[in-house]
Symmetry: C2
Subunit: 107 residues, 2 copies
């Protein structure tokens, strides 16, 4: 995986997931890794960037279009992970869906 | 500062800054903190979320409009920090400017 993620020229979409973790660990790491793998296999997936510092985390996933994001959100295994996330792993989170209009790189 | 950042209902804009740090530390922490303070004082600023894990970092800043982002990018002190960033502190980075179209929170 490259860092920063290599993405095509805009426009495309970003899902900005900003989270505050709870103390609960049971199954979190495995599920997080599984969700990254599942997402990466879906139509429209362009890349992912994820960082955690203590309880605070940001995961950015990039997609070709809004329909691909809707499909990923509705994926049954992902929906179950979202439910467990609200029940166990996250105290709070925000999801923002954004259209990337401009992008530039250094290095 | 709240986490996740408290932002108004969409639409608004996000600047997604994904970076890979170099080993150089000289002045980085002070400048990063100063830039957060400067940004927070500018017209159109809505919030900021920043996380680093080893060399990999993501900083999200939220703005009311593209013109506010342009003004912040062109700020003289910020422009000098960007120059130092390319010269010293970052091996690579990506900047993506995105229009937040939908957002929802849990918790």
């Amino acid at each position: 995986m490259t860092w920063p993620a290599s993405t095509p020229p805009p426009p495309y979409y970003a899902v900005i997931f900003t989270s505050l973790r709870s103390e609960a660990e049971d199954g979190y790491a495995q599920t997080a890794q599984r969700m990254e793998e599942l997402a990466a296999g879906r139509r429209g997936f362009l890349g992912i960037e994820s960082v955690r510092e203590g309880a605070q985390g940001i995961t950015l996933s990039y997609w070709t279009d809004l329909e691909a994001i809707r499909e990923w959100k509705a994926d049954l295994e992902h929906a179950e992970a979202q439910r467990l996330g609200r029940e166990r792993w996250y105290e709070r989170y925000s999801v923002r869906v954004a259209r990337v209009e401009r992008a530039y790189d250094f290095g």
